[in-house]
Amino acid sequence: MKIVVCVKEVPDMESKFKIIGDSKIDESQIAFKMNDFDQYAVEAALQLKEKFGGEVMIVSAGPERVAKEVRQAFAMGADWGIQVQDPEVDAGDSFVVASALFGAIKTIGDVDLVLTGVQAEDDQAAVTGVMIADMMGVPHCTNVVKLDVDGKNMKVNRELEGGKNEVIEMAMPAVLSIQSGMNQPRYPTLPGIMKAKKKRLDVKKAAEVGCTAVGAAGSKTSFVKMFFPVSDHKAEIIQGDPKAAAATLVNKLKNEAKVL
């Protein structure tokens, strides 16, 4: 089985965010990591490979530093990967990124499954996987929490609101977006980390994977600005050291809010 996992690098959401000129975050202040949801996608791919044999490829778009996240997936057990490293892709919207990832997937050829996380923690758009499926001309299923494979046929649980799942039958090739909790992503082992350093990572420009939709020109949406949310409600922050604050809080819960 040939399985591609799309992996994205995102900021650690506990970082201290600073916005520069309404238009971008100050990356010098940010620690980066693999998108949480993608770890579940990598694990799902590795489990399929362990069961049915085959190969797991990682595809990612982003600047040079993104290689760290690809190699983390290698250390978990993925075989090799393609990094589309092109500022013109990074400057594009989801459609551009999907086009670049699709281009990279096409160069691999005969892929049975493409797995993505359900969404990126930074953009929270949840559109890229569906776009890739459409470009490949294959079916997709989003928010997958369970997957049974029998030859080319799959039984897939799609998460719904309020703890329900829809059980779906579909066939490969397909694109699945993997929801957190589907499995327990493994930690890279030390030998895994050593091996990862030597695994093949092809670095390509957009044009080298046949992607022509790049930059602002190739995008279908435009970015206007970013800002910190202004909330019309803010919690009453209780000051003091933990002991004093806790005592004040308990007192307020008893006598002010009257909920204790």
Partner: protein, 317 residues
């Protein structure tokens, strides 16, 4: 006049609440863009058309056996049929599980831009600016669409529900919908458990910040017991197996409205907040002063939950 077209969401013979919110969103976009709100009902037999027409001046129905269950393939064909037959400027879809599954496919079919997960719109000279949550709710961004048409998905609760009142026209759009490549077999319940946290009046809920199973038990479960309440969790805690799925609060878990909800080590992602924002009094304990949970809490303590919670236990006596 061009239309802003809501794709109605329905299951088990009822429109979703989100659909009524979308009708409100479509009305706001339409008035800004010099268009008119409308809605599409994609179903087996169009039986909800009259109900939907109470909320928008025009309803278009596509009825086909292949639309009996929601599927991305069938829905995309049906939306495309309506857009091809009518003058449609924008398509608005819920940012729900179904919506996320087909909205981007519709944008691809129409060759247009999509802005997903929006919570607000602004008009600037007929051009619509969409505001959306990014970075786990820490930053908002604004986007516009460059193509003639657009697709936008809206967060649950972004708009109030539209009031019923009108009696819009209903027009059938003929289309032949081919069978979906994904086949829906059944819908199953996965969170049935021994406990029903939705009945509790006091809930102590722990998030990823509780670090591991032992510590979660130590602080969250113990405080809940001390207060005579139930303990609950955000999704990562359940994903990691620190507690049962039946105790998960949020979009994909339970909706709770206790008198007191204590959120410790929970950042306040929209999917979590969706399940607890109706609580009477919300306490947030988080070491990050910028955590979005403080935007909905009644009281907040910025600090280490492993210091604050033991101190609370002591203060309760």
């Amino acid at each position: 006049m061009a239309r802003i077209l809501v794709i109605a969401e329905h299951r088990n013979g009822a429109l979703s609440e989100g659909t009524l919110e979308l009708c409100k969103a479509a009305k706001a976009i339409a008035s800004a863009a010099g268009a008119q709100p409308a809605a599409a009902l994609l179903s087996k037999d169009g039986s909800l058309a009259a109900e939907l027409a109470k909320y928008v001046p025009e309803v278009f129905t596509v009825s086909d056996g292949n639309l009996e269950n929601y599927t991305a393939d069938a829905y995309t064909q049906a939306v495309k049929a309506v857009v091809d037959a009518q003058d449609v400027k924008g398509v608005v879809i819920a940012h729900s599980y179904d919506g996320v599954d087909f909205a981007a496919k519709v944008a691809m079919a129409l060759g247009c831009g999509i802005v997903s997960n929006c919570n607000k719109i602004e008009a600037q000279g007929g051009n619509i600016t969409f505001t959306r949550n990014t970075y786990n709710g820490k930053i908002q961004e604004q986007k516009t669409v460059k193509t003639d048409k657009f697709v936008a998905t809206f967060e649950k609760g972004a708009f109030d529900k539209e009031e019923a009142g009108g009696a819009g026209s209903v027009t059938a759009v003929s289309a032949s919908i081919s069978a979906s490549r994904t086949k829906v077999k059944e819908v199953v319940e996965t969170m049935a458990g021994s406990v029903d946290i939705s009945q509790a009046t006091i809930i102590v809920s722990g998030g990823r910040g509780t670090k591991d199973k032992d510590k979660y038990n130590d602080v969250i479960v113990n405080l809940a017991k001390k207060l005579g309440g139930e303990y609950a969790a955000s999704r990562p805690v359940v994903d990691s197996g620190w507690t049962d799925a039946a105790r998960q609060v949020g979009q994909s878990g339970k909706t709770v409205t206790p008198k007191l909800y204590i959120a410790a080590g929970i950042s306040g992602a929209i999917q979590h907040v969706a399940g607890m924002k109706g609580s009477q009094c919300i306490v947030a304990i988080n070491k990050d002063p910028e955590a979005p949970i403080f935007n909905i809490a009644t009281y907040g303590i910025v600090g280490d939950l492993f210091e604050v919670i033991p101190a609370m236990m002591e203060a309760i006596g």
